[in-house]
Amino acid sequence: MSAHLPILQVVVPLLAAPFCLFLKRGRMAWGLAVFASWAALAIALALLGQVTQEGVLSYAIGDWVPPIGIEYRVDIVNAWVLVIVSGIGAVVAPYSMASIEREVEAGRIPLFYAAYLLCLSGLLGITITGDMFNVFVFLEISSLSAYALIALGQARRALTSAFRYLIMGSVGATFIVIGIGLLYVMTGSLNMADLAQLLPEVWDSRTVKVAYGFLAVGFCLKLALFPLHLWLPNAYTYAPSAVTAFMASTATKVAVYMLLRFFLTVFGAPFSFDVMALDRVLLPLALVAIASMSLVAIFQVNVKRLLAYSSVAQIGYMILGLSFATVTGLTATLLHLFNHALMKGALFMAMGCVMYRIGSVHINAVAGLGRRMPWTMAAFVAGGLSLVGVPLTVGFVSKWYLILGALERGWWWAAILVLLTSLLALVYIWRVVEVAYFRDFPGDEATREAPWTLLGPTWALVALNLYFGIDAGRTVGIARQAAEVLMAGIGP
């Protein structure tokens, strides 16, 4: 049984998805979704345990030996990302029951859970597979279900944002297929580990460099790196709250993982940094993303859109870590992958609670909620402090390693920029907090705190924000180990 964990990681949510359609009642479909997502988390944790003890796991699907067959390959890097994705999936699934019943028509609820599980299995599949074309297939599974999930939003603008995401996402995915095809032409292999051995021989070929370019643009579209982020703010703003919480914490993280996996494991760090100058290309984009998107976030009146722009800025931090081209920088990237999932998940889930009671996430809608919904707003404040990077939260840990990475390179200006933009984060979070705590509640006296089915998962994430902020040893240890594996590569 434990030998088959890599394939079960994907197959369990994938098979549970169509069953959700057969269960006509929304609550039953919800039960199945919760079960499948918790099973996925359990498998991911077991895989992480196995990998830390035994090293790299390789699973040959259908016993076709790699590189001929499709290989699922789990090392410390993707075991870590699997835990992030399935963990968020397992927290959002219980949360979605009340939230989705409020925001989606009853007849569509089983469809929602089917799409949710498909999206989850797609993201897990991208992460676990060791085959390039398999990455594309899972990428499309997760993207197509994501378009459907976003289109379920109440406002009609959910439809136009889903359409826009579909166009940009498909272009990104097609760019990735072009890149994969060109690599296949040059090497005749699709297996990542095999490619890492074969590619150094053809480094000089222009085809490989063109493939690299296509892949870079495709990944940057998918991970919403400035200026390719245009699909993201609307998609996050108009999607149902549970979908936003799930997507914001997983989809872009998996795209960052794809970028790391292809450019550091398949092509190898020497090719990416010395030949293709990836660090020098990404550095200015990351800096502009952090500074400009944090500024844009300050002027938003819709809190979900504010957090969405903040997400684009936070992706900038992850890419900034990568562009240091050092183990410390990469550690910061991998740490922030986990930490940002925790903080943005908590923030978007708190806004989902507001949406549930007030029916709006406009900044005026949170007026006076500090007293009316104390637990919800306390969760928002805690998540916000983590986003700013206050000590004792996970945000501090990420920023600390980011600044360490910057100073290690002697780039003190990058360290100062990280500190200054943290102040910008304080400004936009404070705007919401000020309205929530220092204005009177204008609405109905009967408005109560959100139900515990929403608050429970939200506070679970808040608690993790604090726990891993105080006891960062384990997360930093795994992230550093993963960063070392990525930088070392598996090439000859």
Partner: protein
């Protein structure tokens, strides 16, 4: 650039032409259906890229002939990959068209500039 390069790589020129046509439609047209069509042409060019690179000069279709050992087959793997990609393309197209139908129901139009105008107006009035 010699004529030789142009002729010997003609499949790539076809692919690049199709790719640019599709991409241009995607960017320049405001009609959502036309955007989906552009996306389709764009994706089809990639299918042709894969299929043409699997062709081996003088190779037969990759169907096993019993009893004959030294037969030159074309590479079947790109075909298989593209079969998957075609399915993905169909799924993308159908989701795109379904969204276009829903947008038409909600906005009464599928022209991007008109949709933007409606959205700007509703934003202004609250």
């Amino acid at each position: 650039m010699s004529l030789d390069l142009l002729v010997s790589h003609y499949n790539y020129w076809v692919v690049i032409f199709l790719m640019m046509v599709g991409f241009y439609i995607l960017i320049s047209r405001g009609n959502l259906i036309k955007k989906v069509v552009g996306l389709n042409v764009f994706q089809t060019s990639v299918f042709m890229l894969y299929i043409s690179m699997g062709k081996v000069n003088g190779g037969t279709p990759p169907i096993l002939i019993y009893g004959e050992t030294d037969v030159l087959y074309s590479n079947p793997l790109p075909h298989v990959l593209i079969l998957t990609a075609i399915v993905v393309g169909i799924a993308t197209t159908s989701v795109g068209l379904a969204l276009a139908v829903r947008i038409k129901e909600a906005y009464g139009t599928i022209e991007e500039d008109e949709i933007n105008a409606i959205e700007a107006r509703t934003e202004a009035t609250g």
